[in-house]
């Protein structure tokens, strides 16, 4: 069976150990985590965990079922129709062209986030495939450091 990429969205109770339970399940059963993000859901005692993973159909199905078995997990959504975004912060040397960097970042839903004495920090937020394109394009401006935020997703 062919490996497919899936984004799984998990709603969990905000309690101790819950992230360890989720990541431990992936480790113990040999599933792959491409990226993982967590943040609390406003006005609830729940959090949202978004996991990008790869595996064949049976593995993806097992992942969602095994996640659902964990006691503090409220809801698991694995859907093809997900709106996905990822944020990236990227640091360039001040010697690079500020206007070029700004134009590039703007093309990917971002802009200049901060400018200091020695560096300029750009920010973008876009779909995973476009983030890949951005990273390729940014290379020519000699980035010093790149921090990716991991995928967040919401069902359509």
């Amino acid at each position: 069976m062919e490996a497919i990429r899936r984004v799984i969205s998990v709603v969990v109770l905000n309690e101790a150990q819950v992230l360890a339970r989720v990541s431990g399940l992936f480790a113990a059963r040999g599933y792959n985590i491409e990226s993982l993000t967590v943040a609390p859901i406003p006005d609830t005692d729940m959090s949202h965990i978004t996991i990008a993973t790869k595996g064949n159909k049976r593995v993806i199905e097992q992942i969602t079922k095994q996640l659902h078995k964990l006691i503090p997990i409220f809801k698991v959504t694995e859907h093809e129709e997900m709106v996905e975004k990822e944020m990236v912060l990227i640091k360039f040397p001040i010697e690079e062209s500020l206007s070029d960097i700004q134009a590039l970042c703007q093309a990917y839903n971002g802009g200049i986030a901060n400018v200091g004495e020695k560096m300029v920090i750009g920010m973008v937020a876009d779909e995973p495939v476009r983030i890949k394109h951005f990273m390729e394009a940014a290379r020519r401006y000699h980035p010093i450091e790149i921090v990716r935020g991991g995928v967040v997703a919401i069902e359509r």
Partner: protein, 575 residues
Amino acid sequence: MFFLRNGASVMKMSGGQMICEAISAEGVKTIFGYPGGAIMNVYDEMYKQDKFEHILTRHEQAAVHAADGYARASGKVGVAMVTSGPGFTNAVTGIATAYTDSIPLVVISGQVPLALIGTDGFQEIDAVGISRSCTKHNFLVRSLEELPRVLKEAFYIARSGRPGPVLVDVPKDITGEIGEFVYPKEVHLPTYKPNYKGNDRQIKKAVQAILEAKKPLLYIGGGAVLSGATDIIRELASVTQMPVVETLMARGVMGAKNPLLLGMLGMHGNYSSNMAMSETDLIISLGARFDDRVTGKLSEFAKYADIIHVDIDPANIAKLVDVDYPIVGDIKTVVEKMIPLLKDDVKTERYKVWRDILARYDELHPLLYNDNDEVIKPQWAIERLGELVGEQAIITSDVGQHQMWAAQFYPFDRPNQWINSGGLGTMGFGFPAALGAKKAIPEKTVINITGDGSILMNVQELVTASENNIPVINVVLNNHFLGMVRQWQTFFYEKRYSETDLSYQPNWKMLAEACAGIGYDVTSKEEFDAAIKDAIKQDKVAFVNVIVARLENVLPMVPSGGALYNMLLESKEEK
């Protein structure tokens, strides 16, 4: 004591006493454990009460196995109590054993005080971290206020849905602290709602598939025992006249005398059972999980069959094989819904040709062994045990050849009569599990069928058995080998018997007697009968050391990774 407005009584007590109150509120009569520093507050409260009994085992692993045996024999939640650090790590094998066989346990472990957690304190270990992957759920209690709720949830989670062990790790300062105790009447777990009912539309479709099948096969697993579905499954088989195979964990569900039962399937299943699985056109799987020891090579497994899979755990469905009719629900509830839908339309004659084919397979290669009057054959010992005690006994076992022979040759006629470590395969399980089973059902004779390898892995429990007057019988099928590993070495490693020769042994009779038990050395059939009959009459823990044929193999055997229909049927060694 004072009263709330709604009339519920509120008691002030320590966390340790809350734990004792919760155990008795859950109706547990016997718990098993071993004290130590971090759990002492609870043991102190236990000393002051008489609502439940505590059995002091001589190792924490045995405490958990004993609680497990108690749970398997009674169908209730078993409770074990251990201290922090090594007390807990010793318990892990017991917890994992219960986890892989879905046995409801609550294990309470002491932990260092809250302020010391994370400081590498004396006897501190991350118990919830270690047990995360071998418990159904676990808790580290963080305040006295949440302790009653956590205990209530622990018992509920352990016994509901697909059962399993739950660990409650309690820091020492919490068990010493005084607070108000109200044991909750109900649990409120919005994220945990097991589905018992089964989807009615799927059930109807599955019934239609049964009606249209030509070669249907009921495949019964341990879930049937856990669900208490024996009567209804026997009725399903009888109404439809479908042949039945049982897994290792389901022995006893159909009853050995049932003519529809072909036997046990899998690696050491009998010929007709494995051939039935290979040729069926419709598997009706009830609480089984298509374990690798059952399926053999997956690509060759049940090639011609559609599959109806009923399981309370959705993750078991379509995990290893594709399923045509998935039904998530409790076996008993689902089968109860199936029977009225089948009753009027099923034509039992329709499956007659199929039953005849399977009967011929069984005639061709019945489950047999070559008996011998010079030396006791292990299979004979088990058959004879069945004749001598039969349904009066609860049989536990350790892991290895003796376990497979017991599963093949003992005439189990009810569920919960056969207690063994199927999933994890834990040597050392049988003896402490027998102690737990005997405490749960004292009117039954409890016999641990074991080997000369396994029994030494929890032999210290002789002391526990004698001290507490728990007269269980250990039948040691002694071939002076780590038999199952030796068998694999014979078949697959050109007889290089690497570290499996167990000729250097204790004097079993003296070992038992050193611990106030009774021992028997048996080398003939007459001695076997005499020893078993005498051991049953004794009020003592017994070792019956039965010297058996040394190189006997468990057959049939499907070599690991081979197709289920490719069985080794006869031993070259014996011919």
